[in-house]
């Protein structure tokens, strides 16, 4: 994004709407800091500028286009044909059955909430996840960035690109899930230059539907976190009208 200086009246109304604080005043001008901008498009979409001074380079060149692909939910990922960050994760698990009772799914979302992340931070997680035995989901736009699926290394030219968030998704055997979670928490706190949310996907046991939540609560006492009391539940509606 950039501001057309001839059109801009310097009302500064656009400054607060930027999620990453990239709109600033400098030398009596309102400018969008090129490096900080993640091309999310919020400033333009809100129509906050009556002069129409907020503009986007079209087309955005590669690899900068990845900023829009990961940060602007109106931008469709070519690799997955899904809007947003381009992943279905557990939302359709009653159809695809990717998350079986034998595995736990991990979603490690770099840059969230509201900080942003460089792909070099994402690479730290993809590499670490592979050393921990993580099996990466193939239907995820992050896979299109990966240069070496054996090491988790990303393409070198993308590492300096910044996005609002990117999700590393992988599964591990259920019996190793808490051990992997503990390792990831310590790694994230030690190595990341940004924040990351960590979420876990469990196929429910019909007899004890929140058994894994209790395991997490116990694990959280050691690693000083409290699992949220809220989350997402796929209620099995796609399977024969949701019959249990």
């Amino acid at each position: 994004m950039y501001i057309d200086q001839e059109a801009c009246k310097r009302c500064v109304d656009c400054i607060p709407v930027c999620p990453v604080g990239a709109i600033k005043t400098a030398a009596k001008k309102v400018v969008i800091e090129y490096e900080a901008c993640v091309e999310c498009g919020v400033c333009r979409r809100l129509n906050i500028c009556p002069q129409g001074a907020i503009k986007q380079v079209d087309p955005i060149p590669y690899p900068r286009i990845l900023r829009a692909a990961f940060s602007d939910p109106m931008h469709r990922h070519e690799s997955t044909d899904v809007l947003g960050r381009g992943t279905e994760e557990m939302k359709t698990n009653d159809v695809k059955n990717e998350f079986t009772p034998e595995v736990i799914g991990f979603s490690m979302e770099l840059g969230r909430p509201g900080v942003g992340a460089y792909f070099r931070d994402l690479e730290k997680i993809t590499k670490k996840s592979i050393t921990l035995g993580g099996h990466f989901a193939s239907y995820n736009p992050v896979m299109a960035l990966m240069e070496d699926r054996n090491t988790g290394a990303l393409k070198k030219e993308v590492l300096g690109e910044k996005v609002l968030s990117a999700i590393a998704e992988f599964t591990v055997p259920r019996q190793r899930a808490l051990e992997v979670l503990g390792e990831l928490i310590q790694f994230a706190n030690r190595e990341l230059e940004t924040v990351a949310t960590i979420s876990l996907i469990a196929r429910n046991n019909r007899e004890d539907r929140h058994a894994f939540l209790r395991e997490l609560e116990g694990h959280g006492k050691i690693f000083q976190y409290v699992p949220y009391p809220n989350g997402k539940v796929n209620i099995g509606m796609a399977v024969a009208g949701g019959r249990p």
Binding site: P73, D94, L192, A196, S199, Q224, Y228, P229, I235, P244
Partner: protein, 228 residues
């Protein structure tokens, strides 16, 4: 598309405060499911959600019905558990073969599933935020900004809106409306946002149940995860 998992500030003390209903077609079934998805979106809208996909972009209900089913995903925010219970029953009776996710307090979702005879198939849990958490804003700001899973609601915009409310330039309701606009998925709970803004602006709330909005260290927000 929408990632409603990591919303902070929900509490068992305010049961039923919000439930986001999300419907998604698996990508392999997208083309053949447009008709059923249209029926599903029509059903969602029939129950008058407080917010829904496309609303922040100014789309009318007719436009939503025309556009959203082809994309294979729809979202709607409800603030009445009983309404969601009836909605889920109706979707179940139509047997459309489309995945439905309920996002909210696990206890709320469980009650709805049990009353509808549904199976909680797969659950997504959040362990919280880790890494360089010193970069995060205060807890009440997070309770607003984390409502947009794509992080499009700026912390600076929240601060600006609170400032304008304090100066009498905006009501909290108007502020909530403004802050819901960047979230194109339509998953910001405007009622909850209004209550949080009132608290941030130092305005008395008429609703006693909001007196316990998130405080530092409350459940629903874990930010450290260091080994003790």
């Amino acid at each position: 598309m929408t990632h409603t998992l990591n919303r902070t500030g929900l509490s068992e003390k305010r049961s039923g405060e919000e439930i986001v209903v999300l419907c998604m077609v698996h990508y392999k079934n997208k083309e053949k499911s447009v008709r059923n998805m249209t029926e599903l979106v029509r059903t969602l809208l029939k129950y008058n959600p407080d917010n829904f996909v496309g609303l922040p972009l100014g789309l009318s209900r007719e436009q939503v019905l025309g556009l959203i089913p082809k994309g294979g995903i729809a979202t709607a925010v409800f603030t009445d558990q009983e309404v969601v219970r009836k909605l889920v029953q109706e979707i179940k009776s139509k047997d459309l073969g489309i995945s439905v996710v309920l996002s909210g307090l696990f206890s709320d979702v469980r009650e709805i599933c049990e009353s509808a005879g549904l199976n909680e198939h797969t659950t997504n849990y959040s362990a919280g935020v880790f890494g360089k958490t010193s970069l995060l804003p205060d807890y009440l700001t997070l309770d607003i900004t984390t409502q947009c899973g794509h992080a499009l609601v700026s912390r600076h915009y929240v601060k600006d809106v609170v400032r304008r409310i304090k100066r009498g330039k905006l009501t909290a309701g108007e502020g909530a409306e403004l802050l819901s606009k960047p979230c194109v998925c339509g998953i910001v709970n405007k009622k909850r946002t209004e209550e949080i803004l009132m608290k941030m602006a130092g305005i008395e709330s008429s609703d006693e149940t909001t007196d316990d909005l998130t405080k530092e260290g409350d459940v629903g927000m874990s930010l450290k995860g260091e080994v003790s």
